[in-house]
Symmetry: C2
């Protein structure tokens, strides 16, 4: 157990933006919500999954909907209290702790706010190890864990409990209610016991997020290596490309942001170009037509100078970025994992080959 205070929140938010892999929503607003809650109610206890009793009830917290809407609607303290009461009432027992379901993006921050306001510890664990666009895309689905009973509430005070036959149906019904509630709601889903958490959770992801944040902050202070080398070493990332944004295409189908960004190489990449396709998160990175990485591995764009993460929302013509690949959790690389979040699920006509193997095959070595 250790404490998550203001400093830790800043670091986790920065790392979470990287783990968002372009999506997940910029943690900025979430960070303000978490900072506000911790200032008001005190630091949060971060506990290891091993500290959670097998039969303890864990209530993950997330926002569902468009992070941009969250910025406008805001989020209060009543939402967490309501969700907490709904979960307690439904299960007829006390909640032991909360946790993030999605460590990438804005959802890394809201469980901190909930933990602070409810006086609960937060478990160092999530269900993605990154960000994904749909509700069933969690490691717990691989383990056959149901997303429901799922509790949902909006800032007005409406609340809904779902029980569905599959996690895809949860996505379908909860998405419809989220849209009707104005595009952003607070939810608890995959409520589970400690045993399940230990079995299928992505462990240590909050700490990993914080380390990534620290790494980004520290790159400039390196004396014995280039900032880029230091960033890649500390993050465990594989460099995919370095270039200048030459084109961005964005479309939306009402539910997700789709698009692609094109890069013209700089430095040693000056004779190459790259294209990254995204659906909320970056899905596929091609350099000179050759695929170097696909989901579920993380394809992250960071500012070529500061190494701060660049979300798909912030892509702008002329910006210089480094494209970096991070390995996804091993559970995503199983057959069941790839059925959920493999490239083909997202409409990319390619088999999944692990990032590090694709890198070996060509010029994309670190």
């Amino acid at each position: 157990m250790r404490k998550i205070g203001l400093q830790e929140i800043e670091e986790i938010a920065l790392g979470a933006a990287l783990l968002g892999a372009g999506g997940g929503g910029d943690p900025y607003v979430g960070k303000l919500v978490a900072l506000g809650a911790v200032r008001e109610c005190g630091a949060v206890s971060l506990i290891d999954p091993e500290e959670v009793p097998d039969d303890a009830l864990i209530m993950p917290i997330a926002m569902m909907g468009a992070p941009t809407v969250l910025c406008e609607k805001g989020i209060g303290d009543m939402e967490y209290r309501r969700i907490y009461d709904m979960v307690r009432r439904y299960f007829g027992r006390e909640v032991y702790a909360t946790m993030p379901m999605e460590a990438g993006g804005v959802n890394s921050m809201l469980p901190i706010a909930a933990a602070a306001r409810l006086g609960l510890p937060m478990v160092d664990c999530d269900g993605m190890g990154r960000a994904f666009p749909e509700l069933q895309m969690v490691t717990f689905t691989i383990g056959g864990v149901s997303a429901t009973p799922m509790a949902l509430t909006d800032e007005k005070g409406n609340s809904v409990i779902f029980e569905t036959i599959t996690n895809q149906w949860t996505e379908e019904l909860a998405r419809a209610v989220t849209m009707s509630c104005g595009g952003s709601v607070t939810v608890s889903l995959y409520v589970m016991d400690g045993k399940t958490l230990k079995q299928y959770g992505v462990r240590g992801i909050v700490s990993r997020s914080q380390e990534l944040g620290r790494a980004i902050r520290s790159v400039k202070s390196a004396a014995d290596e280039t900032p880029e080398a230091r960033f890649l070493r500390l993050s465990g990332g594989i460099r995919l490309f370095r270039g200048k944004i030459s084109d961005v295409l964005r479309t939306t189908d009402g539910k997700f942001n789709h698009g692609r960004v094109q890069l013209r190489g700089i430095g040693e990449y000056r004779n190459s170009c790259a294209e990254i396709v995204f659906q909320n998160e970056n899905l596929c990175c091609r350099v000179d037509g050759r695929i170097l990485a696909t989901a579920p591995d993380l394809i992250c764009l960071v500012d070529a100078e500061t190494f701060t993460p660049v979300t798909t929302d912030a892509l702008k013509y002329g910006k210089r970025v480094l494209a970096v690949g991070l390995k996804c959790d091993p559970l995503w690389r199983t057959q069941a994992g790839l059925a959920l979040v493999g490239p083909r699920y997202f409409g990319i006509d390619a088999d999944y080959i692990p990032l590090e193997e694709r890198a070996k095959g060509g010029e994309a070595n670190v």
Copy 2:
């Protein structure tokens, strides 16, 4: 207490079609569901509201969505069992009885099926005394009763419990889930105690429905009066017009059927024409431009020969119909009632004047 068997179901269904005032869905499919349940599980006990203890829990049953979808999807017995379990679990106590929330149309029949399958009595009471298109349009809303906790389930096994800040929000959120579930679901809403039921329910409406059904069946056997005079006497209806359908216009906004039907007069009405505007249910009847009836009074079209009700779905060029007005429940004529279901709510630019007063003013007397 009396028993509702196969014969009673036939009569109630016929009367419910009339109380549907053009909408509510043809009770035909609902009748098959009710007949099947009673054949399988035995007759249902119909009890008077006075027989219900003040603290007893009453679970109304209805379908939400498009009755035409119900015809295609059907309805099983698991839906009622699931709803029952959800309500029992939520309230932590036994359910005493079920009841219809909408006596007009298909929703008159489904509580009979639920009562038979669950072995519960059904209360002779509803929340409309007719049919209405939106969930908050019940006499219980006037009494400040919340539609929620509302339980919803579909034929696949998905289920949802809503708790909302207003009954309009219940409509909004439950409607979204209904659409996502394929357009028709089974619900229980306005779960209430016996005291509330007695205070705000439309009492005796199932029996009234059955009497109307019997009246329609018996009109031809009259010796001492014309079938029409007998029908009007037994139903308590006010004749608005008699004519041949000369035009039907239908539109839909995805949620409701909107439209109007034009009639060319026959018999003593041969020099007149009439227009009836509807949104699922008939809303306003004009004869030669003068309004003779508006919601919440019931505007019913019946076959000019057989007096069987004609729903807006069944309007066809050339059909001869009698337009009849039936008085709505007195609660709808209060200020609060008219705010919910008065003509202006439905976009009709006219004050509500009771049917019988409008009739006095012109040629539209019985």
